[in-house]
C-alpha cells in the first residue's frame, strides 16, 4: 500500500505510533515477528482490527496482508469484527465451570440483554467466552479489557459493570 494511503489511517493508529513501529520494523531482521504487536497496537487504539488495520499492519512491516490476517484470524484476542467499548471475557474452563461460570454468564446475559458473542445495545460491552484466564484460584473469573476479576458473585458483577462503565465514560472525557 502506498505511504500516502497509510497516512490517512489516523483513526486506526496515530501517526507517531505508526512511525515508531515502522522504525522498529526497519531495525529488525524479521519484521514478521512484530505482526502481533502492531495488531495489538491498532486494537488498543481502535478497539478492533478492521480490514484496513490488516492493510496498515502489512504496510508498516512490509509483509503481505494475507500474512497479517493469517495471524489476526488465528488469535482469539485479536478482534476482526467490531466489539463494544469493553470486551467481557468470561472464563468457561474447568475451574471456573466447576465453581459457577454458568450462573455468571446467565447474570451477564440478563444484565446486558445479550447472548455471548453479542454487543450490548449501548455499544458498551461485548460478551465473549474465553478459555482459562490463569486465575484459577479466584474462580469463577472474568476479564474486562485486560483487567481480571474473581472470584465473582452475582452481586460483584453489577458493581464491576457499573465501575467499568464509569471508567469508560471517564476515559472518554479525558480523551475529548
Amino acid at each position: 500500500m502506498p505511504a500516502t494511503e497509510v497516512n490517512t489511517m489516523h483513526d486506526l493508529l496515530p501517526k507517531p505510533e505508526v512511525e515508531k513501529l515502522r522504525a522498529k520494523a526497519a531495525e529488525i531482521d524479521h519484521p514478521h515477528e512484530m505482526i502481533v504487536d502492531v495488531l495489538r497496537a491498532i486494537q488498543d487504539h481502535h478497539g478492533w482490527v478492521p480490514d484496513e488495520g490488516v492493510q496498515l499492519t502489512a504496510a508498516i512491516l512490509g509483509v503481505t496482508p494475507v500474512e497479517v490476517d493469517e495471524l489476526a484470524t488465528f488469535y482469539d484476542k485479536i478482534y476482526r469484527r467490531p466489539v463494544g467499548r469493553k470486551v467481557i471475557h468470561v472464563c468457561d474452563s474447568v475451574c471456573c465451570w466447576a465453581t459457577g461460570t454458568d450462573k455468571i454468564v446467565e447474570h451477564l446475559r440478563q444484565q446486558l440483554g445479550i447472548d455471548p458473542g453479542q454487543t450490548s445495545a449501548d455499544g458498551m460491552f461485548t460478551l465473549l467466552p474465553t478459555c482459562c484466564l490463569g486465575v484459577c484460584g479466584d474462580a469463577p473469573a472474568m476479564m474486562i479489557g485486560l483487567t481480571t476479576y474473581g472470584p465473582l458473585t452475582v452481586e460483584d458483577i453489577d458493581r464491576i459493570l457499573e465501575q467499568e462503565r464509569r471508567g469508560a465514560t471517564a476515559a472518554e472525557k479525558i480523551d475529548s
Binding site: D51, V54, E67, E70, T73
Partner: protein
C-alpha cells in the same frame, strides 16, 4: 541406500526417502492427503499410518514423516494402522457434504477414493456440520469450502511452491478457511494448480465446471504448446470439444504443475472460426481434392518457375514430424527456400542455441537444483512461466537470483535486479564473456564484477536468456559467457526462452542459410511465386508484419495448412485445415533439446454444443461428423509425398533418414522425453544488432514485449484467458514520464513509423530509463509491434482531452 521390508517385501531406496514413498516404489499405495511429492511431507492429515514392527522407530507412525532406514520392518496391513486410517477418513468425512452427485470432483476425487479404500461406509457423526461462505476467486477457480478436509495442500502449492501472495490460511481450530482476504481473482499466474492438488472438490476448474464427468472424458498425455518449455499436460475432451487441461507429470521439466496459460489456453481448439473446411480458390472441397490440388499446383509452379520459386515455411507450433515432412516436400524439387520460423530473429536465435548449446543444455529440473541463476533479457513469467516457478524452487533452497533486464521484472522469489537498458545488454554480456568490466557503466559494475566470481565458484550456476530481447547476437554472447565461465569440471548451464514449443526442433531441421526475411525479398523481387505455410501465419508471426504483408501480396499461390483462424487462412488459395495438437500425435523439441511426444486426445469435429445450438441431442441427423475434415498436418504432407500415412512408419523413416532423430522411434507420450544431442547448422548472420543506434532527438526506443496471457497466438484465441486481457498500454519510468508530462493512467498517443495508436500510460520505477515498454497485443493497433522483431522508435504524447 537404506534397505527395508514393507509387507514382507524388501525394497532399497535412496537416502532421504520416506517410508510412504518407499512403499509406493513397491506398488503399495497407502491413502494420504497432505503428502505430495512436490510439496513434501508435513504430517497434517495423519492418514498414511503404518505399523513399524522393527527398527529405530516402533509402533504406528505416519509413514510420510519417517525416513526410510536400514532394517526397518513395516506393515501396512496391521490392524492398528488400518484402524487409524479408517478413523482419519471418518474424521475427514465428518463435515464433508454428501454432494458428490453435483460435485465436479466426483469420480476423480481422492477423498472419495480414500473413503472407499479406508473402509468408511457409514456416517456415525450426527452433530452439526461446519459451513463457510465461499469466495468468488475469479474466472478460473471455483471455491466450495464446505468440502474442505484441511490438508493444506492448496496453500502449500499456491504460496510455498508457486510463490503467490494473495492466498492463505485463515481462522483456526475446526474452522480453517483457505482463500483470499476478500473476493477477487486469484492473482498468481499459477492459480489453477490448486485445482489439481486439492484432493476433493474445494477448488474446481471454473471453466470446466458442470461440463463433464471425469469418466466420460477422453484424455491422453500431451505437451503444452504455449511456450518453449514443453510442460507435460493432460488435456481432456468430450463431445468433440476440448474441455480442460490439467498438469501432467514430468520430473525433468515442469514437475507436477503448469501455469494458467497452459491450463486455460486450450480453447483455440474449439474456436468458432477455426478452419474446418478444405478450400481451393475460394470453393469448399474435400480434403482429398484439396491435397491433390496443392500437390499439383506446387509441382507445376516448380516446373514453370524453378524449384526456388516456392517457399516452404514450417513453424514452431507444428510437430517435428510435420516440419520434417515439409522439408521432404521441398527436397523433392531441390528447393532450398525453406524456413521453420517466420519470425526471422527467433529463427536465428533458435538455430544458434541448437547449434551451440551442447552439454550446457539445462532442464527445469536443473534450474530447480541450481545455486546461482542469472536471468538476462528474459521475462520468465511471460516467456516461460514455469521457469519462474523453477527459479523459485532454487531460491527456496538458498540460490541467489540475479536479473539483468530493462523491464520491471516480477518473479515469485527474491532477486536482485539491474534494470539495464536494452542497448546495454550486449556490453554486459561481453563483460561476462570476457571477464572485463571496463566497458560497463558505474551502476552496472558493482553487480556484474562480483557476479563473475560468483558464477565461477557456484556449484550449479545457470544462465537464463530470453530469445526475444537478446536476439541472435545476444544469445551468442550469452553462450560465449557460459563457455568462458565454465571450468573444465562443470559447465555453466544455459536455458534459452525460445519462440514456441518446437522452435528447437525447427532449428535442428533448418539447413538453409537464408531466413524468412531474406526469402521475402525474393517474393518482392518476383522470383518467388508460391508460399506453403505449415501452421503459421506469416502475416502476423514475423518480425515486421507491415513489410511482410506488402511482400506477400506479390504471391501467385498461397497454400496454408493450419488449425487456427488467421490472415493466412483467410487469404489462402488452397487451405488444408489441420488438426489441433490435442487431435493428433506428434513430437515437439523443447528449448533444451528435449524430444517429447504428445498423443491424440480426440477426433476433430464441430463441438456438439455448437451443432446443437445449446440443445441436446443435436437435431440434425447425419452419418458423418460435421467439421471433421481437418487432418493431422503430418498426414496431409505424407499423402502429398506419397508416403504411408502411418506415424510410427513415418518416424522410422525420419529416424533412418537423419540419425539425429533416431529417438523419434522411441518417443513415448507421458515419458520424460529424451534430449537430442544433435548438431544443428548455424544460421545466417543477423541483420539487426543489439547495439542499437540512439534514436532521434524527439523519439525513444519502443520495446514490444510478450505478456503472460497473450504471449502466443494460440492462447490469445482461448476465450477463458480473455479474462486476463487488458487494453493497449505502455510502461515507462516515472522520471521519463515526468519529462514527457505524463502521469499514471493518462491516455497517450504513441507514434511510430507505421502510424499512431492510443495507449494508457503506466509508470514503473523498476524499469530502465529512456524506454517505452509496449506489451504486445494481438488484434489491436499494437499488433504490428512484434516482440523480438525489428527496432522501433516512437514518440509518446499526452492525448488531448484526457
Amino acid at each position: 541406500m537404506p534397505k527395508l521390508t514393507i509387507d514382507n517385501r524388501e525394497v532399497t531406496v535412496p537416502e532421504e526417502t520416506n517410508v510412504l514413498e518407499a512403499a509406493r516404489d513397491l506398488g503399495i499405495v497407502i491413502p494420504h492427503f497432505c503428502y505430495h511429492e512436490a510439496l513434501g511431507a508435513v504430517g497434517a492429515c495423519r492418514l498414511c499410518a503404518m505399523t513399524f514392527l522393527e527398527g529405530p522407530v516402533e509402533g504406528v507412525q505416519m509413514a510420510c514423516m519417517v525416513k526410510a532406514e536400514d532394517g526397518m520392518v513395516v506393515s501396512t496391513l496391521d490392524e492398528k494402522a488400518a484402524e487409524l486410517r479408517r478413523h482419519v477418513i471418518e474424521w475427514s468425512m465428518m463435515h464433508h457434504p454428501h454432494d458428490c452427485p453435483v460435485c465436479d470432483e466426483g469420480g476423480e476425487c481422492q477423498l472419495q477414493d480414500m473413503t472407499v479404500a479406508g473402509g468408511h461406509g457409514m456416517r456415525r457423526y450426527r452433530g452439526r456440520k461446519r459451513t463457510f461462505r465461499n469466495q468468488d476467486l475469479g474466472p478460473f477457480v471455483f471455491q466450495e469450502m464446505n468440502r474442505c478436509i484441511t490438508c493444506y495442500r492448496c496453500v502449500r502449492t499456491y504460496r510455498e511452491y508457486c510463490g503467490g501472495t494473495d492466498f492463505g490460511v485463515f481462522g483456526s481450530r475446526g474452522r480453517v478457511f483457505f482463500g483470499r482476504l476478500a473476493d477477487g481473482r486469484l492473482e498468481s499466474p499459477f492459480s489453477g494448480n490448486i485445482i489439481d492438488v486439492c484432493p476433493t472438490g474445494v477448488f474446481t476448474d471454473k471453466v470446466f465446471r458442470y461440463t463433464s464427468r471425469y469418466w466420460d472424458l477422453q484424455e491422453a498425455p500431451s505437451i503444452c504448446p504455449h511456450c518453449s518449455l514443453g510442460c507435460a499436460t493432460i488435456p481432456s475432451a468430450r463431445y468433440r470439444e476440448l474441455q480442460r487441461v490439467r498438469s501432467g507429470i514430468n520430473r525433468e521439466t515442469n514437475g507436477f504443475f503448469i501455469c494458467d496459460r497452459g491450463r486455460f489456453g486450450f480453447d483455440y481448439t474449439n474456436h468458432a472460426e477455426r478452419p474446418r473446411q478444405p478450400r481451393v480458390d475460394g470453393q469448399g472441397t474435400s480434403m482429398t481434392q484439396a491435397v491433390t490440388a496443392a500437390e499439383r499446383r506446387i509441382r507445376e509452379t516448380a516446373e514453370r518457375h524453378g524449384a526456388d520459386s516456392i517457399i516452404f515455411l514450417g513453424s514452431a507450433r507444428a510437430s517435428l514430424e510435420a516440419n520434417a515432412l515439409l522439408a521432404r516436400w521441398a527436397e523433392r524439387f531441390g528447393c532450398r527456400q525453406l524456413s521453420f520460423e517466420a519470425h526471422a530473429e527467433r529463427d536465428r536465435t533458435a538455430r544458434l542455441v541448437a547449434a551451440r548449446l551442447g552439454d550446457r543444455a539445462c532442464s527445469l529440473a536443473d534450474v530447480r537444483r541450481s545455486d546461482l541463476l542469472v536471468v538476462i533479457g528474459a521475462d520468465l513469467l511471460a516467456e516461460g512461466p514455469m521457469a519462474a516457478v523453477a527459479v523459485r524452487q532454487a531460491a527456496r533452497s538458498g540460490a541467489r537470483v540475479v536479473v539483468i533486464d530493462p523491464r520491471p521484472i516480477d518473479l515469485p522469489c527474491r532477486f536482485e535486479h539491474l534494470a539495464a537498458e536494452p542497448a546495454r545488454l550486449a556490453a554486459i554480456l561481453r563483460g561476462l564473456a570476457s571477464g572485463q568490466t571496463k566497458n560497463l557503466l558505474e551502476r552496472e559494475r558493482p553487480l556484474v564484477q562480483p557476479l563473475l566470481a560468483a558464477i565461477r565458484v557456484a556449484e550449479a550456476p545457470v544462465l537464463l536468456g530470453g530469445g526475444d530481447l537478446l536476439g541472435h547476437e545476444g544469445m551468442g554472447l550469452l553462450l560465449d559467457a557460459a563457455q568462458a565461465l565454465s571450468p573444465a569440471e562443470r559447465p555453466v548451464k544455459l536455458m534459452a526462452m525460445l519462440g514456441g514449443p518446437n522452435s528447437y526442433g525447427g532449428a535442428l531441421l533448418a539447413t538453409a542459410a537464408r531466413d524468412f526475411d531474406a526469402l521475402l525479398d525474393q517474393v518482392r523481387e518476383g522470383s518467388v511465386k508460391a508460399l506453403v505455410c505449415l501452421e503459421t501465419d506469416p502475416f502476423r508471426d514475423v518480425c515486421d508484419p507491415p513489410r511482410t504483408q506488402t511482400a506477400l501480396g506479390h504471391l501467385d499461390l498461397l497454400v496454408v495448412l493450419d488449425s487456427v483462424p488467421g490472415l493466412a487462412v483467410q487469404r489462402a488459395d488452397i487451405l488444408l485445415p489441420t488438426r489441433a495438437i490435442a487431435e493428433t500425435d506428434g513430437c515437439f523439441v523443447n528449448n533444451e533439446g528435449r524430444l517429447q511426444a504428445f498423443r491424440q486426445v480426440f477426433d476433430p469435429g464441430l463441438p456438439i454444443r455448437e451443432t446443437g445450438g445449446g440443445d441436446h441431442p443435436p437435431r440434425e441427423f447425419r452419418t458423418d461428423t460435421p467439421g471433421a475434415a481437418p487432418e493431422a498436418a503430418w498426414r496431409i504432407l505424407a499423402r502429398i509425398l506419397g508416403r504411408k500415412d502411418h506415424l510410427p512408419t513415418i518416424r522410422q523413416q525420419l529416424a533412418a533418414e537423419d540419425p539425429r532423430f533416431r529417438d523419434l522411434v522411441f518417443a513415448e507420450p507421458g515419458s520424460k522425453g529424451s534430449r537430442l544431442t544433435a548438431e544443428a547448422s548455424l544460421p545466417a548472420k543477423a541483420r539487426v544488432s543489439l547495439a542499437e543506434p540512439a534514436p532521434g532527438a524527439d523519439t525513444l526506443p519502443v520495446l514490444p514485449v510478450r505478456t503472460f496471457a497473450g504471449a502466443d497466438r494460440l492462447s490469445h484465441l482461448s476465450a477463458p484467458l480473455q479474462a486476463l486481457a487488458s487494453g493497449p498500454a505502455v510502461f515507462l519510468k516515472p522520471d521519463l514520464a515526468e519529462r514527457l508530462g505524463l502521469t499514471e493512467g493518462d491516455g497517450a498517443r504513441l507514434t511510430t513509423a507505421e502510424g499512431h495508436c492510443r495507449v494508457v500510460v503506466h509508470l514503473d520505477a523498476r524499469m530502465a530509463d529512456n524506454l517505452i515498454l509496449v506489451p504486445h497485443l494481438w488484434d489491436s493497433a499494437l499488433e504490428g509491434m512484434v516482440p523480438g522483431g525489428r527496432r522501433i522508435d516512437g514518440r509518446l504524447e499526452k492525448e488531448e482531452g484526457s
